[in-house]
Structures are given as structure tokens and as C-alpha cells.
């Protein structure tokens, strides 16, 4: 289910300088019981965001009004653990359109790309630069240019890699499934002899 076309994104960012953030933190298992894709944003980072009584924890970044925006910047190995696509849905539903980290877990990366959420892998040093700069100035926007494959922090351009096919899908809001369905007859022929 592709949502909207992704071209350029200019936004402030939310900082989460923690490594190995697993998908159980992004959306705990007890909130996976819905049978639709919507509404998971309410429980994004649930146990870091709210205490046991459901009150917002003031020390968590999503409860800090200084940091808002459509870009999440997180420590390395973001999205490890469970394959739950609900993690990508929750981030998207909350309003994020891109996640920047120095390393992503594979399944999360695929899930994000399948949901118009752009995972951008940058160098450790560039990631640190973003953390440092935005801790000083939370209003500083980041510019993400998917067509030309770079992230810009002030004048500092960091290129990023993305699979050419996935890039085309994001820019045009295409789905893998549309492509696969166009090959259904060929796949049927293969299935018969295997």
C-alpha cells in the first residue's frame, strides 16, 4: 500500500540518539492486535513515551515540544528485532516520512520502503553532526532530496544510497505488488513445473 509520492522533504527533526532501537520499542507487541493499518501512531514508542498510568514521560523526546518534524534521527541498528511492519506503519501514522540512522536492520528497511517511509543510512560522523547541530538548534531544518540522493544539514551535503528500483517506486508511489501482479502468468507457468 503506497501512500504518497516522495520527492523532496524539508523538515525539522526529532532526535533519538540511542543504538539498537528494536521494533518492540517502536510498537510493543500488545498493540499489534488491530486488523487494519491505521492508528498505530498513538502507541508509537509507547513505553518510552508514557508511564504505566498512561501519563506522558516528560524526558522522552516525543513529549518535548522543542523537537517536532517529519524526520526521525536515531542511533545505529535502528529497527532490529521483530519483523512487524506495524513499526513502519506507526512511524508513518505518527507523521514521520523519513528515518535517518547510521545503520538499519534489513527487515525494517524493506518494510519502511514498502510504506513510503524513507530509511536513510548516513555515516557515523554525519549522524553525530546532525545530533550535535540539532541539540544546539532544534529549529534547523534538514533537507532530504531523494531524486539526487542527498541529505543536507546547513551547507553540508551527505549522499545516501538507495536501490534504483525502490527509488522509482517511492518517487512515483508504485507498489511491488503491482509489478509482481503484472507477471502473474509467467509465475503460474513456473509454479506448474516446480
Amino acid at each position: 500500500m503506497m501512500k504518497e509520492k516522495f520527492t523532496t522533504l524539508i523538515s525539522t527533526a526529532v532526535l533519538l540518539p540511542i543504538e539498537n532501537i528494536d521494533t518492540d520499542q517502536i510498537i510493543p507487541a500488545r498493540f499489534l492486535k488491530a486488523t487494519t493499518r491505521e492508528g498505530f501512531g498513538n502507541n508509537l514508542f509507547r513505553d518510552w513515551r508514557y508511564d504505566a498510568e498512561g501519563n506522558p514521560k516528560s524526558d522522552f523526546v516525543l513529549n518535548n515540544s522543542r523537537y517536532t518534524g517529519k524526520i526521525l534521527v536515531a542511533g545505529k541498528n535502528f529497527g532490529c528485532g521483530s519483523s512487524r511492519e506495524h513499526a513502519a506503519w506507526a512511524l508513518y501514522d505518527y507523521g514521520f516520512r523519513a528515518v535517518i540512522s547510521s545503520f538499519f536492520a534489513d527487515i525494517f528497511k524493506n518494510n519502511a520502503l514498502n510504506n513510503a517511509l524513507l530509511p536513510i543510512q548516513v555515516s557515523d560522523s554525519f549522524l553525530q553532526k546532525i545530533f550535535n547541530a540539532l541539540e544546539r538548534d532544534n529549529a534547523m531544518p534538514l533537507i532530504i532530496d531523494l531524486e539526487n540522493q542527498f541529505v543536507m544539514l546547513r551547507g553540508d551535503k551527505e549522499p545516501f544510497e538507495i536501490n534504483a528500483y525502490k527509488k522509482t517506486c517511492l518517487i512515483n508511489a508504485y507498489n511491488d505488488i503491482d509489478y509482481l501482479l503484472s507477471l502473474r502468468e509467467e509465475i503460474k507457468a513456473f509454479d506448474l513445473v516446480n
Partner: protein, 443 residues
């Protein structure tokens, strides 16, 4: 583009995929290649009664409705084949060497123990497989992990994989598929091999596999959906060719000596944070990178532990023996052998959750249920249970649980629950003493 030979589905990651098919007005591409079961949020008590929790009940009912509408075989609650999806696939002979296997669950790597390309997928990909029997994938890099030599007593497959992950870190194999090899791996039973492949994802590898051999063929022979008679012999001849070429080149190779492996335990909040059960928790000074400090300290704070201290003797509150990592019959036999004639520590709650109805039936047939009962362990009904706490089986906030499952993430076993991952033997030893214990002292 990969054609998928075997697709498993469960109640949590499939409903949105079926909705997608409905919206497009298309059916399932080949219903014979998909098998469903209810496991993630099912209760492990009174499974014959309607599920009490409304949302869980709705998810299981949605699975029922979808399987009926689209014509997919479902091993529902109460069916003699129901169980954790990664346990029933192999035990029914649905998982066979040389297949491509996917499921909307990261522990699909388990099926790699049969020499398969098996990996977890997201729900969008579940929809793609239902609609076209194919997924689009990047070609992964290859890694060979060799373990050689005999294992010490009390050291099991779980300790091997926790040891490997502690060396590799929670992201050390991201982007790779891992082949496990070496004399130690070859000497393991199929169930032990599944434990190893199961946790590949905990170091970031989507898939982990082991070349099929006589152990594999003997395990498969006679299983419900496996080829029978002459067809089986023909299949074995084909499966025998599924060995890595002797001159194969890997992107990375790592070798370990089985003699260096001891019973393992994790102290932190990712599975890479593991130590020998007799070791101390590392100090921040001993960490590889300064960037790890914040996460390490956060982790220890969550766990209520101090750097540089020992875990041996630490009092525990819960013991969970179960999950797709360690809930097969051999796991239950090992636990029963260790605890027979002993009594559990009075203050500890012990849940033994079999991986499937077949495992449960076999355990009862062998009288393991009686042994557990005498010790004070509770043998429950099959499901994922306290591995991820989607059902009622949650560890209370602040309590310590020694668990045979695969993840010690914050809140994994319940909000604020604290998890120590270990082998079934180490978990059973802790159930008896009420403390983190070196099982070698009880053998």
C-alpha cells in the same frame, strides 16, 4: 525476484494482507503453498473456551474467516497440529530441504536448519506472496560460521548461538545470510539445529542455514506432509546435492572452538549482550565503542544491574520454558531429566509452554507432565506465550525472568519486565534454586 515454495501465516501479521487482496478483488495465487496457524496471542490455558481478551479473539476470528474465504489450511486452536508456526512447519514435514520459506515473522530463519532460504517478511510482502507467490529481495551477502569440537556437559545449542551472537553483536550479521558449519553443528540433532538457525535474526541475519545431511533426512522421514516411499528416496537423492561447494567463497568467515563455549546468559536488553554464566557483566571501559555507552547504561538501568558484577546467585522471579527457540520435545525432555525428583524454589513461578499440540501430546505420552507437576512446574497449552507477552502470559513490572526465548528487549515479556535469556537447562536449574545457577553444578 524469488518464488516462494512454502508460506506460513499467523493471526498477527496477516489480516491487513488479506484486506489488500479483497480490495484488489483477487484470490490467493496457490492455496496449497500457504499454511496458517494461531499462535502469537492465543491463551495457553483453557484453549477450548472462547478467547477472553476481545482484541485477541477478534484477530484469531479474522484469521479463521480469511482462511475459510480464501481456501487456506488452518491449524486452529484445538486442532492436533496447532502450535507455534516455526515448530509445526518442520514437525509436519511442510518444511523440506532446498525450499524458499517465508512467514510474517522474523524467526522464520528457523526453517533454514533444513538447508533452506528461509526469512521473515513484513505484511506488505505477505500480501505479495498471497497474491503472486513471489517477493522482491536484495541478494544478501554470505557468511560462514564454523563451530568445531565437542561440547562441554551442560552446554547446548542455545549456548552456542548466544555465544556467537555475543561475539557478533546484535547487528553483526545484518545484510548477510549465515551458513552454520563445522563438526559441532554437524553433531547436533535437527531440533538443536533449529534453535541455532532460529536466532540468526538476533545478530541481524535474515536467514541462517545448515546443509542437509543424514540427520535431516532421518528427521523428515515419515512426517505427515513429507514425500513418502519412492518419492522420499528420490527427494533424498536430490537433497544430498544441497551442499556448499568445497571451493565456495564467502563474504565473511568466522570460526569458533566449542571448547570456549560455556552455558550463556544475557544481562542486557538486546541478545548480543550475553556472557558466560560464570562471568561478570562488562564495564563501560570494556565496551568496543564509546557510542555504545549511552545504550549500555540505559540497558543496565532498565535491568536494575550494575556493571562489573556477577549474575550467578541473582534471585529470579519467573522461569519461562517455551518459544520457537526452545519448546520442542527434546527441550522438554532435557528439562524433565534435570528436574526429576527435585522441587522448584517456592517463590519462583515456572511456565512450561510446549511449542505445539504434538509436542504437548508427546510430553504427556512420555509422562513429562507428571514430572513437571511433581516439581511444581506448570505445563500449559501451545503458543508464543511469554516470549512476547501478547496474551495473558506477562512477566510483571520489575520482575526477573530467566527465559528460553529469543529476545530480552525492554518490555518484551511485559511492560518493565526484565529478561535473562538462557538455555532450557539453565532456566530449569534456576527454577530449582531460585537463582541464576551454573547448571553444570547440578548435573
Amino acid at each position: 525476484m524469488l518464488f516462494i515454495d512454502r508460506h506460513f501465516i499467523h493471526e498477527v501479521t496477516s489480516p491487513q494482507a488479506f484486506d489488500g487482496l479483497r480490495k484488489r478483488g483477487i484470490g490467493v495465487f496457490n492455496t496449497k503453498r500457504t499454511t496458517a496457524t494461531a499462535d502469537h496471542n492465543v491463551p495457553t490455558k483453557d484453549q477450548h473456551l472462547p478467547i477472553k481478551e476481545a482484541l485477541s479473539r477478534q484477530q484469531v476470528e479474522t484469521l479463521r474467516k480469511n482462511c475459510a474465504e480464501f481456501g487456506i489450511d488452518l491449524y486452529d486452536l484445538g486442532h492436533p497440529f496447532q502450535g507455534i508456526v516455526h515448530i509445526i512447519g518442520p514437525e509436519l514435514g511442510l518444511t523440506l530441504p532446498g525450499m524458499t520459506v517465508v512467514c510474517g515473522d522474523s524467526h522464520t530463519s528457523t526453517h533454514g536448519a533444513f538447508g533452506n532460504i528461509a526469512f521473515g517478511i513484513g505484511t506488505s510482502e505477505v500480501e505479495q506472496v498471497l497474491a503472486t507467490q513471489c517477493v522482491l529481495q536484495y541478494k544478501p551477502k554470505t557468511m560462514r560460521i564454523e563451530v568445531n569440537g565437542p561440547l562441554d556437559k551442560g552446554v547446548t545449542a542455545k549456548d552456542i548461538i548466544l555465544y556467537i551472537i555475543s561475539k557478533a553483536s546484535a547487528s553483526g550479521a545484518t545484510g548477510y545470510f549465515v551458513e552454520y558449519a563445522g563438526t559441532t553443528i554437524e553433531s547436533l540433532s535437527m531440533e538443536a539445529r533449529m534453535t541455532i538457525c532460529n536466532m540468526s535474526i538476533e545478530m541481524g541475519a535474515r536467514g541462517g542455514l545448515i546443509a542437509p545431511d543424514q540427520t535431516t533426512f532421518d528427521y523428515i522421514k515419515g512426517r505427515k506432509f513429507a514425500p513418502q516411499g519412492e518419492a522420499f528416496d528420490a527427494a533424498v537423492a536430490k537433497w544430498k546435492t544441497l551442499q556448499t561447494d568445497s571451493d565456495a567463497v564467502y563474504d565473511r568467515v568466522a570460526k569458533f572452538d566449542a571448547a570456549d563455549i560455556a552455558p550463556m546468559i544475557t544481562y542486557g536488553t538486546n541478545p548480543g549482550m550475553g556472557i558466560k554464566i560464570t562471568d561478570r557483566i562488562p564495564t563501560t571501559k570494556e565496551l568496543r565503542e564509546i557510542s555504545e555507552h549511552a545504550s549500555f547504561n540505559k540497558s543496565l538501568e532498565y535491568m536494575g544491574l550494575e556493571e562489573g558484577t556477577a549474575l550467578l546467585g541473582k534471585a529470579i522471579d519467573y522461569v519461562f520454558i517455551g518459544s520457537c527457540t526452545n519448546a520442542r520435545i527434546e527441550d522438554l525432555r532435557e528439562v524433565a531429566r534435570l528436574v526429576q525428583g527435585k522441587t522448584k524454589a517456592p517463590e519462583v513461578n515456572v511456565w512450561v509452554v510446549p511449542g505445539s499440540k504434538q509436542v504437548e501430546a508427546q510430553a504427556r505420552k512420555e509422562g513429562l507432565d507428571k514430572i513437571f507437576e511433581a516439581v511444581g512446574f506448570e505445563l500449559r497449552s501451545p503458543g508464543c506465550s511469554a516470549c512476547l507477552g501478547m496474551n495473558e502470559d506477562k512477566v510483571p513490572a520489575g520482575k526477573y525472568c530467566i527465559s528460553t526465548s529469543n529476545r530480552n528487549f525492554e518490555g518484551r515479556q511485559g511492560p518493565q519486565a526484565r529478561t535473562f535469556l538462557a538455555s532450557p537447562l539453565s532456566a530449569a536449574a534456576a527454577a530449582i534454586t531460585g537463582r541464576v545457577t551454573d547448571v553444570r553444578e547440578l548435573i
